[in-house]
């Protein structure tokens, strides 16, 4: 059998394959996956917070408050404030496609700013919660949480995906 030439080009070729592998491993760690269903995420989140001040949102609520159609996504978890003086809210959207992230994040940011405008000036406690809200896009998921447990909720969300 003919002996394979092992020179600089071959070396670089195989080195690049190793770079690809390392990069994919890095992405896996950094980006997270998209195979976790919203049901599992809901369970993880509700284990670190209570439903106090919130009520489960419907697809109509999603349309009303965020302008989003639930059918466009792989799954949605929505909790909305249960009275006019509450701001507690959790939204988790599992995207079908990563290109949806921008529009969902924009819708969540718009909702956040509407809430801020509503409470700014007279609801100090509520404004503080809104200002410490978490809005993140992680791989195939977008999360918005306005709650005193926002950090724990986000941590539970991260661990679950």
């Amino acid at each position: 059998m003919k002996k394979q030439k092992f020179d600089i080009l071959n070396l670089l070729k195989y080195a690049m394959v190793l770079v690809f592998i390392a990069y994919i491993v890095f992405l896996n760690i950094r980006e997270g996956g998209n195979s976790t269903p919203v049901k599992t995420i809901r369970k993880a989140i509700m284990a670190v917070t209570k439903e106090d001040g919130m009520t489960k949102g419907t697809t109509q609520d999603l349309k009303k408050y965020y302008g989003l159609n639930a059918d466009d996504y792989d799954g949605v978890m929505l909790y909305i404030p249960d009275d006019v003086m509450s701001v507690n809210e959790i939204l988790v959207v599992k995207l079908k496609d990563k290109s949806q992230a921008e529009s969902v994040e924009a819708a969540a940011a718009k909702r956040l700013s509407t809430q801020k405008e509503s409470f700014e000036g007279y609801g100090a406690k509520q404004t503080k919660l809104i200002n410490s809200a978490v809005l993140e896009n992680k791989g195939y998921y977008v999360i918005l949480t306005i709650s005193k447990d926002a950090d724990q909720i986000y941590e539970a969300f991260q661990k679950s995906i």
């Binding site: 070729k13 394959v17 994919i24 921008e102």
Partner: protein, 466 residues
């Protein structure tokens, strides 16, 4: 970044154009490359590294194949290695979930995985890279020794995200020698604005009709609504994708490049064979050049020819999406093309043109159902609705409302998808003052698009997900 976004139209594009025309010739490719990487990184900051690694890997492999051309076996080994690595990368990012989900469905165990987000444009730029690698191996093109030029070929922002798939042989010379001119720039601007109008004014508007039908609860869709939904989608995808291609061709011209056309009024076709000569021409050419002909094309016994066609159409379906409905869509066309080739063409030839046209359109519309349905089962259900099975009657108030409120738009789209408008426009504009008249018409079209864009929500191109 989207071509149809304010940031692209009023910040990115003007800056890149000014820099491009200000710098001396040797720097022009540097500006274009820098702009292209920025364009991609804008939406995909993480995947820009994947693209850079792909460029480096394939640049090295191209050199390796070229130096081994004297030793056929070594060159072949190097080619196979390069193609395999490229396909593995595409497979991992695009098909991992599909393969594992399919295995989970048939195996008694549930395979969990961490699926990655799909890097935008990966199907397009991987095919461009493969065209270069294969052509170097075949000796059809010279190996590119300038890393910068090779990187520009892969990343060129006008056609990076959704094609046309530019074969290396078509732009090899243009990477070094191309001529920019005011005439070409003007022509490019017209192409671009025409594409923008197709996307913003037509595709997005008719897309809302399709969305309305898709949102109807099962059991509330009449036969009429189902057909309106399907026709709306057919127009949306045509004006969306051909609009993008026009913008890409136009941008190419502004920078002195000439890309081949990607669409040629597909909905006027009188057979499915003709339809595929007119729809996504660059993808069809790619599969013909790099899969169909190497398999033997039609110069083989009938059985092998059938195999070749089915392989090509299976892969065409799979290229479009990692789901069984796309595979079914590809095979659906494969079977129709086989039938046309061996039986139907003789029958079709004897039929009046109008019947041939209806035949083609009905089959294309049914094909789109596989394309827009989220699952294969969903596609079958929708097709049943179109033919009355499980439908809420033949005509209902919702269907009539959709028809009457969108009739004018639908008529406009029918006319717009034929060459009539373009020919009439050319005839009217043939006299003196053509340039001024063009400026006025296209400026008005551009302003109208901007008026739509500033009030519109994020609306990406349909082909971005491929």
């Amino acid at each position: 970044m989207l071509f149809s976004s304010i940031v692209f139209l009023f910040t990115f594009l003007p800056i890149i154009l000014i820099l491009y025309y200000l710098v001396p010739r040797p720097m022009k490719n540097v500006i274009l490359l820098f702009g292209s990487l920025l364009f991609y990184a804008w939406g995909e900051p993480v995947y820009i590294f994947l693209m850079i690694f792909s460029i480096l890997f394939n640049y090295i492999c191209g050199l390796d194949i070229a130096r081994n051309l004297g030793d056929q076996a070594a060159a072949r080994r190097s080619l196979i290695f390069t193609v395999a690595v490229n396909l593995c990368i595409l497979g991992f990012f695009k098909y991992e979930g599909f393969v594992l989900d399919s295995l989970s469905a048939v195996l008694p165990v549930d395979i969990s995985y961490r699926a990655m987000a799909l890097p935008i444009g990966i199907s397009f730029y991987t095919f461009q890279i493969l065209s270069y690698i294969i052509d170097v191996y075949r000796g059809h093109v010279k190996v590119q020794t300038n890393l910068l030029d090779f990187a520009l070929y892969v990343t060129m922002f006008p056609q990076l995200i959704a094609g046309p798939i530019v074969q290396y042989a078509d732009v090899d010379r243009q990477l070094h020698v191309r001529k920019e001119s005011w005439g070409k720039f003007g022509e490019g601007s017209m192409f671009f604005i025409r594409g923008l109008a197709k996307k913003v004014l037509l595709a997005n508007t008719i897309g809302m009709v399709y969305t309305e039908v898709a949102a109807l609860a099962p059991g509330k869709v009449s036969v009429l609504s189902a057909w309106i939904g399907c026709i709306s989608y057919a127009f949306q995808i045509y004006f969306d994708f051909s609009g993008y291609s026009d913008m890409a061709i136009g941008l190419g011209k502004m920078f002195g490049f000439e890309f081949l056309k990607n669409f040629d009024y597909p909905y006027i076709s009188q057979s499915i064979t003709e339809f595929w000569r007119r729809w996504h021409i660059s993808l069809g050419s790619w599969f013909r050049e790099y899969v169909y002909i190497p398999l033997g094309g039609n110069r083989v016994p009938v059985i092998k020819h059938l195999r070749n066609l089915l392989i090509v159409w299976f892969l065409t379906g799979l290229w479009h999406g990692a789901a069984w409905n796309f595979v079914a869509w590809g095979l659906y066309y494969g079977l129709i093309l086989i039938l046309e080739k061996y039986f139907l063409s003789r029958v079709l030839e004897r039929l009046p043109a109008v019947i041939r046209h209806i035949y083609s359109l009905v089959l294309v519309l049914i094909g789109w159902v596989f394309f827009f349905s989220p699952t294969l089962g969903g596609a079958v259900d929708y097709i049943q609705l179109m033919f009355g099975v499980g439908a809420n009657g033949l005509v209902d108030s919702e269907g009539l409302y959709l028809l009457t409120t969108n009739l004018l738009l639908l008529i406009l789209l029918v006319i717009g998808s034929t060459p009539i408008v373009h020919r009439a426009y050319e005839r009217v504009m043939a006299g003196r003052g053509k340039i001024l008249a063009n400026c006025v018409v296209y400026a008005a079209m551009f302003l109208l698009c901007i008026a739509y864009l500033v009030t519109e929500t994020y609306n990406p191109f349909l082909y971005f997900r491929f």
